[in-house]
Structure formats: structure tokens, C-alpha cells
Symmetry: C4
Subunit: 145 residues, 4 copies
Amino acid sequence: VATPELPRIAKRLSRRTLTVRRAGLAIGLGTLVITVGAGLAMWLLDHEEFPNLGLALWWAVQTVTTVGYGDVTPKSDRGRTIATFVMLSGIGLVTVVTASITALFVEAARRRLRIESDRARDARFDQIEQTLARIEAALRERGPT
Amino acid sequence: VATPELPRIAKRLSRRTLTVRRAGLAIGLGTLVITVGAGLAMWLLDHEEFPNLGLALWWAVQTVTTVGYGDVTPKSDRGRTIATFVMLSGIGLVTVVTASITALFVEAARRRLRIESDRARDARFDQIEQTLARIEAALRERGPT
Amino acid sequence: VATPELPRIAKRLSRRTLTVRRAGLAIGLGTLVITVGAGLAMWLLDHEEFPNLGLALWWAVQTVTTVGYGDVTPKSDRGRTIATFVMLSGIGLVTVVTASITALFVEAARRRLRIESDRARDARFDQIEQTLARIEAALRERGPT
Amino acid sequence: VATPELPRIAKRLSRRTLTVRRAGLAIGLGTLVITVGAGLAMWLLDHEEFPNLGLALWWAVQTVTTVGYGDVTPKSDRGRTIATFVMLSGIGLVTVVTASITALFVEAARRRLRIESDRARDARFDQIEQTLARIEAALRERGPT
């Protein structure tokens, strides 16, 4: 199994303390960026139904977040195709972001637990090595018989 | 990687047994608090479209939970801007809460598994230390030749 | 940290092989049960707006799954209060179920990895114990000098 | 606990580097496949309300992704029963996919961490075995007294 390439935002976040607040903020901002992209795409490619950028952005945010009020929806085949693409991307995005953030949280918690366990193990190894050093010294003291 | 700062509610939950029921309850209550905040904000800042607090709360709960019936929606730019903020916060919140709860569940399960493994390891270390103690005693018994 | 009390369905699932298919099925069935409960509650407590059980169930399924078409929605305060409760429970449920299933998947994968690691460790311990047994035998052979 | 049978797509993904981009793409494509299945089912089984395949697909994508605009909804009992099945499958699917992807991410991160820890452990074992070999050689050198 290869290492997952966590998104750059997540990596940056983990370098400076990954707090829950920062993770939530990053997700909110990331969603905003995708929303703006979806709104711009709809406005440019289905200009007849969405002549107003504000309207396209309002449609985009309720689509990407899966709220879907339905007060503004595309009626043309072209608009519905764009919307389908936006919805599928939205699902893919939310799932992957949730998985990445969860993995980062789990990894941080595990690292803490692992350090405790490894420290306990190393203490036992140290003790055994000291005993072995004493045994070796005792044998050497006598010299070859 | 730094340690994630799990929300205080989650930490409290984990101190007394983190049951699935309690986690679910905490999430439901947390969502309720955010809903009330969103409803109050809409009622105060877009008073023309939401003159009734009950209506604003009804809009807020279907927005934060991403149900989005669409029977009550803001039409003004101001209302839609507030709604956009609520939706983005909602997505950030749900994702981060899911990640935190999952990390807590995973950590609890791992701790149990780790304890078993560490106990097995320590038993083996104990045995080796006893053997080493016997060897050292045997060497000491003879004294320097 | 205490052990999370995974829901009984999840525990049962994990006893016999927890396949992805079974987990998905269990979630679908669990959601169905909650939907029927929500539909019955709406039909019994807001009988004026939902005189038909079929209609109440149709409302319930699109609410619990957060689809929220909005073709059937409560208009009275009583109905909206019940709906609020259903939505909050829905969010709590989906989050907790996702977290539990994820923890079960992670635990199963870890158990496999842990077994490999513990086996390697025990092989090394076995080797050391054999060497120690030979050393002790060599010392005993000579008898006290 | 048995090993979870991660979906074939996920397994394939993990064989060649599981990047976040690939995981997101796989989820988007998987959702598309289920959407097409749901749209075809609705079009075939509720032909009166959905005489147009395009309309059925448009309904399917907003249902599976839980956006639920509500501009196109089934009104007949037959159509609503099919829709209920699609919604429950959608919830089951999204939850299980999120859990699987998360488990894969967590496993990959853990494997990396585990390798570090196991390497440190093996270095200590190597050192102890070398010391034991020297002790044994020293004892053998003297021969039986």
C-alpha cells in the first residue's frame, strides 16, 4: 500500500498544530473555492439560464454543500449536465476531505500513543543491555582459564 | 505532526465512557446550538425577509442539516450571503465533527489492542530478565577465579 | 479513554466477516427503521397535515437521508418542531454510524498489520531465549568451581 | 474480527499509489454508475412519470448525491417506492465508501509509522544478539573446566 498524498492544505495544517478549528476553517474555505469555480462555470457555459453571476453563485453554494433548496435550478440539457458534474465532484470532494482529515486526526493520536509504547519498550531494552554488559564484564574479569 | 485539539465536548465525552449513544446525542445538541445561532443571525440581519424568529429557525435547521426543502429561502443578496456563510460553516462543522468522533472511536479501539500487545511483550521481557538474573547469580556464585 | 460501545448491529457484523456489502446493507436497513419511526411519529402527532401514512413516510425518507425535495413539508409549528427533531437525529445518526463503521474497518486492517509485527517480534524473542538457554546450560555444565 | 472486504476499486487504487485525487475520482465515477442505474430503473419502472431518460437521470443524480432540488419528483406510490430504495442505497453507499477510503488512508499512514518503529526495535534486538554471541564465544573459549 502506498502513502496517500494528503492535499497540500492538509499537510500545511498538520505542520503547524492541526487544531479542529483550523481543519474546519480550511474545509469551509476549500468548499468556497470550489463553489466559486462551479458558479463561474455555470455562468459562462449556461449564460441564458444564469445571466447573473450572483444567481449562479447562489445556485453553486446550495449544490456543492448538497443543501439543494431548488429555488434556482437549470432547466436546459446543457445546464443539467454542468450541474451533474458539479454534484459528482461535490460528493467526491466531501468524501475525500472527510477521509483525509480523519486520517490526520487518527495519525496524530496514534503517534502520541506509539511514543509512549516505544518509550516503555526502550526502557526494557536498556535494562537488559545493562545486565548483559555486567555479565560480559564478569566473564572478562576472570580472563581465559 | 501535532496533536489535534479535539473539541471540548468530545474530550469530556471520552473521559466518561464514550458510548455511541452519547456521541450521537452530543452531535445532535451541537448541531442544535449552531442552528439557533444561524436562525438568530438571519432574523437579526435579514429582518425584512425573516420577520418571524420561528421562520428563521425553520430555515436554519433545514440548511445546517443540508436537508434544504426550499419552502423558505432568502431572496435578497444580503440574505443569500448570510445563507452562504451558514452552509459553508455547516459543511466544515459536519466534516470536522465526523472526523473527531471517528478518531476517538479508532483511538479507543487501538488502545485496547495496544494494551494486549504490550502485555505480551512485557511478559517476554520479564522471562528474559529472570534468565539473565539466574545467569548473573551463577557467575557471582563462583567468585573471581 | 473508555471503549466505545459500538452498536449491536455493528458488533454482530464484525463477528461474521464485516464485508463492505454487509455494512452498507446494515446502514440502509438502519436508516429504513428510523425513517419508519419518523414517519409514524409525524402521522400520529401532526395528523392534520399528514392524514396519510404513505405521505408521512415519503416526507420521512427524504428528510432522514437529507435529500429534502421539499414537495411535502410541514407548515404548522407542531409539524416543524417534529421535523427539527427528525433532522437533528438524522445528522447525529449518520455521523455516528459513519464513525463506527470506519473504526471497525480501521481496527480490522490494524489487527492484520499488528499480527505480522507481533509475530516478527516473537521470533526474535524466541531466538534470544534459545541463546540464553544455551549459555545457562554451558554455565551449569561446569558446576561451581 | 474479520478483515473488511474493501471494494475492488479501492483495492486497485491502493495497489498503485492511492492519491487523494484518484480516490476522489473513483468516488465520483462510482456515484455516476449508481446514478445511471437509478435513472434507468426509474425510467423503466415508472415510465408514466418519467417518459424521458434525461429527466430520470436528472432526478437520479440529485437524489443519489442528496442535493434534492425537488424540481422533479415522483408523485405515484410506485415512483416513491423506487425513490425510497434509491435514497436508502445512496446513504448506505456514501457511508461505506467514506469509511473504506478513510480506512485505506489511515492504514497507509500507519504502515509508514509502524515500519519506523519496527526498524528501531529490530536494531535493539540485533545489538542484544551480538552481545549474546560474544558471551557465548567467551564461554566456549574456556572449554569445560
